[in-house]
């Protein structure tokens, strides 16, 4: 009962292979235009890849390899897609929108409306049941769209940025709902939010430029990011280079002292990863217990929660506003980023 | 009377009692008022019979009969169209001529262009409409032109007399060549100006029984009515001549 996919769509420079176990939820992360929505479109049957093959349990969704041309239409696939826009049917009431999937699956009208009411209540949108989609706010529409997708009870649920447009109350509420719903379900969820990936998914994949660049248990991907994107997502600093006996020499020539992970062989390509909170900022080149001290020029300062994030030399440091004010930090200044060796992890790339 | 009916043309079963029948008459549109009168006379004279009238242009009627329309009687406004049917052996015997018609000048009330003779129609600035040579009234017009030695420069060559009459009665044209009967029907909407050359082109109306008719008895009876005194009276009241 696994789901396997393998598809290429040349026009979008897309080529991805993916396997999902039963009841597994995968988070898809990646920059804008990476091909995340394309991936869901191909699985849902809205896009026809140039080649590849997908099997969901017993069912071959498509097989376009070696001259074969099997392609199941969307409605027979048992996948439900929450697209990036809510796209509620404008001519139906909110309730009818949510009941659409159950109705299409053959439920009786009464039964489908019951299901629809249930899911509307779940997303706290029961009060809008009789409205037209045109009379909803952006966030309300998004919630109804989620209810509509969940109401279909699919074999594979495809969610494209379900949390977009939601307010700070609705987002955690839906996150909890999805956590419950996805617990025993196979799903693929696209998100730009690390929290969604951590909470909802068993596994994360990072798509960049149409290809999977990273894959693994969500925590592992976020804690030991190998790609710049995953590192950025986790808020981590990431330096690529060559592994040495004492740590890593960056591509820019920086010597980083750290304890390489097991399996890191000197001479191999590797990455050094450390949190911005592990970085201290000094005005002069201090000499103390920390082994790493790099002179960098500040490019940018921005608030980050109740801290200030200092961007410099491609790295970032989180410090308190008070410390920032004391040091008189401004973009253009040269400062020293100091990191303790124990705070840096080095992995093979 | 014959008891057979033509399939598909009966209005309903209830109007055809036993021993009666329906006769379907295809007639030129210009015969509408006269044939409607004659038909009701026929129905009155033969209780239980029903006359179904189908009016259209003569060439339309010919097409329809050629394509197997369920007609019993066909009355055309000219001999040319009827000849097509006799050539195709679609009618019984030779058609009988039951009416004639001649051309007359029609002018709007008040006669704005002061037309008084056929030659006046050729005066510059006079807007004359005639029938196109392809239609009976048009070929009659050509004949008259030759007889009168006058060449008309019409502003329009219409495809039917009705259209000529329409142009004149609306005042759009200063004069038109139409049939005497048309002028009569139009009442005071137009004024008729007879001209001597008109008898050079006498249009004859033939009537005949359709070969595929299933009520030939009734058809013959109807034709007899048309060509008989009763029909003749109705026709001459409308301005038709006697052949």
């Amino acid at each position: 009962m696994t789901f396997t996919l393998n598809a290429a769509l040349h026009a979008r420079n897309f080529d991805v292979s993916l396997t999902l176990g039963p009841a597994e939820t995968v988070a898809v992360l990646g920059p804008n235009g990476a091909g995340k929505s394309t991936l869901l479109g191909i699985i849902a049957g809205l896009l026809r890849p140039d080649s590849g093959r997908a099997v969901l349990g017993e069912k071959t969704l498509f097989n376009l390899d070696g001259g074969a041309s099997h392609f199941l239409p969307p409605h027979t696939r048992g996948t439900a897609l929450l697209a990036q826009e809510p796209l509620l049917f404008p001519h139906m009431s909110v309730l009818e929108n949510v009941a659409f999937g159950p109705r299409a699956a053959g439920e009786s009208r009464a039964c489908a409306l019951e299901t629809a009411r249930h899911w509307l209540a779940e997303v706290e949108a029961a009060e809008f049941a009789d409205r037209r989609p045109g009379q909803l706010s952006g966030g309300q529409a998004q919630r109804v769209a989620i209810a509509r997708a969940l109401a279909t009870d699919p074999e594979l649920l495809l969610l494209d940025e379900p949390m977009a447009a939601l307010d700070i109350h609705a987002a955690p509420m839906l996150r909890r709902l999805l956590k419950r719903v996805l617990a025993n379900r196979r799903a693929i969820i696209i998100t730009h939010d690390i929290l969604d990936a951590l909470m909802l998914a068993d596994r994360a994949i990072v798509v960049e430029s149409g290809h999977i660049t990273e894959e693994g248990p969500t925590r592992a991907v976020l804690e030991k990011p190998r790609s710049k994107f995953a590192a950025g997502l986790a808020g981590m600093n990431l330096v690529t280079g060559t592994i040495t006996g004492r740590g890593l020499t960056s591509d820019g020539g920086l010597d980083i002292t750290a304890h390489p992970e097991d399996g890191a062989v000197p001479g191999q390509d590797g990455v050094a990863v450390f949190s911005p909170t592990a970085v201290s900022v000094f005005l002069g080149a201090e000499h103390g217990s920390p082994r790493n001290s790099f002179a960098v020029t500040i490019t940018d300062l921005e608030p980050h929660g109740d801290q200030i994030r200092v961007h410099a030399g491609g790295l970032s440091a989180d410090i308190t506003p008070a410390a920032s004010a004391d040091l008189g930090l401004t973009p253009g200044m040269t400062v020293y980023f100091v990191i303790k060796a124990t705070a840096i992890a080095v992995y093979p790339a | 009377a014959a008891s057979s009916t033509a399939a598909g043309t009966t209005r309903s079963g209830s109007s055809t009692a036993a021993g009666t029948g329906t006769v379907t008459v295809f007639a030129a549109a210009s015969l509408k008022s006269t044939f409607t009168k004659i038909a009701s006379g026929f129905e009155a004279a033969n209780p239980g019979t029903k006359v179904t009238l189908n009016f259209a242009g003569s060439s339309d009627l010919v097409t329809q009969v050629t394509q197997g329309a369920p007609a019993d009687v066909i009355a055309s406004a000219d001999t040319t169209n009827m000849a097509k049917l006799s050539d195709a052996k679609l009618i019984d015997g030779t058609p009988s001529k039951f009416a004639t018609n001649t051309l007359e000048i029609a002018v709007p009330p008040g006669n704005p262009a002061s037309i008084s003779s056929f030659a006046d129609l050729a005066k510059p600035g006079v807007k004359v409409v005639v029938c196109a040579p392809q239609v009976p009234c048009g070929s009659a017009t050509e004949t008259v032109e030759q007889a009168a030695g006058t060449t008309l420069k019409p502003v329009s060559e219409e495809s039917s007399v009705t259209d000529v009459l329409g142009k004149v009665s609306s005042g759009e044209a200063d004069a038109g060549l139409v049939y005497v009967t048309d002028v009569k029907t139009a009442g005071d909407k137009v004024k008729g100006i007879p001209f001597s050359e008109s008898d050079q082109a006498v249009n004859t109306y033939p009537i005949a029984t359709v070969g595929s008719s299933k009520s030939k008895e009734l058809a013959k009876a109807f034709i007899a009515m048309v060509t008989g005194s009763e029909g003749r009276k109705v026709l001459s009241d409308a301005g038709f001549g006697t052949p």
């Binding site: 045109g134 | 043309t9 009238l53 189908n54 339309d60 329809q64 050629t66 009705t162 329409g166 029907t185």
Partner: protein, 287 residues
């Protein structure tokens, strides 16, 4: 731009905003001017007709048995033809707008042809096809059905001339609506037929409505093909336009008066049936 309070009924800056409608609808004023010209162009001839009517003769004329029979026949056949147009035309429009296959453009061009054929020729073509001597006539006759010169012939003739109207206006609407809602419906598990019934058709309802109204109107006014293919038998095939045509042989003004009945019927049908259709989601992010 000085802050001036303009009276509600006069828009100041060239765009009208309706009082009760809180949404944006900006129509430039010159559009109104041209629209007025267009409307006048249609309305003036109608007014001219009304002016000419001899009202004393009007009532007896329109209540005469032949007129009423013809009107009844016209309404019945036009309704039947419109249904037939919808049954055949909606699938045609769908196929033209949504599927793609070789020869599609040619098919579209051919489907439009009854529009250009002079109706009389259309009637002849129908005779050639369904007439006793026609392409299908013999097989049909063997089946015991006689089409030509029957009321069904009227319906066929009207459908033939009116079908393209429905197809073309519906195809335009389908293309304008796009396919994204249909795709969403499919991902929710709806079979193509369900998608069609519950999404595609409701979404293009304005287009379908105008198509049906156009077809109905065209059927109501159909003359040439009916005369040729169905003949002009009172109560069977003589629809109101044919009655008007015959009337014109004797009295053009009476014909005009009679066509006012047609006009009145059409205004009533169109005015009543053509509900202000719901537009697609017209919110601009804000509504």
């Amino acid at each position: 731009m000085t802050p001036v309070s303009a009276p509600r009924s006069k828009a100041r800056t060239g765009s009208r905003t309706n009082r009760r409608d809180t949404r944006y609808t900006g129509v430039p004023p010159w559009v109104f001017a041209l629209a007025a010209a267009g409307a006048l162009f249609v309305l003036l001839p109608l007014a001219a007709m009304v002016v000419r009517v001899n009202w004393g003769e009007f009532i007896p004329l329109i209540t005469s048995e032949s007129s009423l029979t013809a009107l009844g026949l016209s309404l019945r056949t036009s309704a039947a033809s419109t249904v037939l147009c919808i049954v055949l035309g909606v699938p045609l429009a769908l196929v033209l707008a949504r599927a793609s296959f070789p020869g599609q453009r040619l098919l579209r061009a051919f489907v439009l042809l009854p529009l250009v054929l002079p109706p009389v020729v259309g009637g002849i073509a129908l005779l050639y096809t369904f007439g006793r001597q026609g392409l299908l006539g013999r097989s049909i006759e063997l089946a015991g059905i006689q089409i030509a010169f029957s009321t069904s012939a009227v319906v066929l003739a009207q459908t033939f001339v009116a079908l393209p109207f429905l197809v073309v206006s519906l195809e335009g609407a389908l293309r304008t609506a796009g396919t994204k809602y249909e795709a969403v419906a499919a991902t929710l598990g709806a079979r193509p037929t369900t998608v069609l019934r519950r999404v595609s058709i409701p979404l293009v309802l304005p287009g379908l409505a105008s198509g049906a109204v156009l077809s109905f109107a065209r059927c109501l006014g159909e003359f040439g093909a009916t005369l040729t293919f169905a003949g002009s038998l009172q109560g069977v095939t003589r629809t109101l336009p044919l009655e008007i045509y015959l009337q014109r042989e004797t009295d053009a003004d009476a014909a005009v008066a009679l066509s006012l009945v047609l006009v009145a019927v059409a205004v009533a049908v169109v005015g009543l049936s053509y509900r202000r259709p719901r537009a697609l989601p017209s919110q601009a992010g804000t509504e």
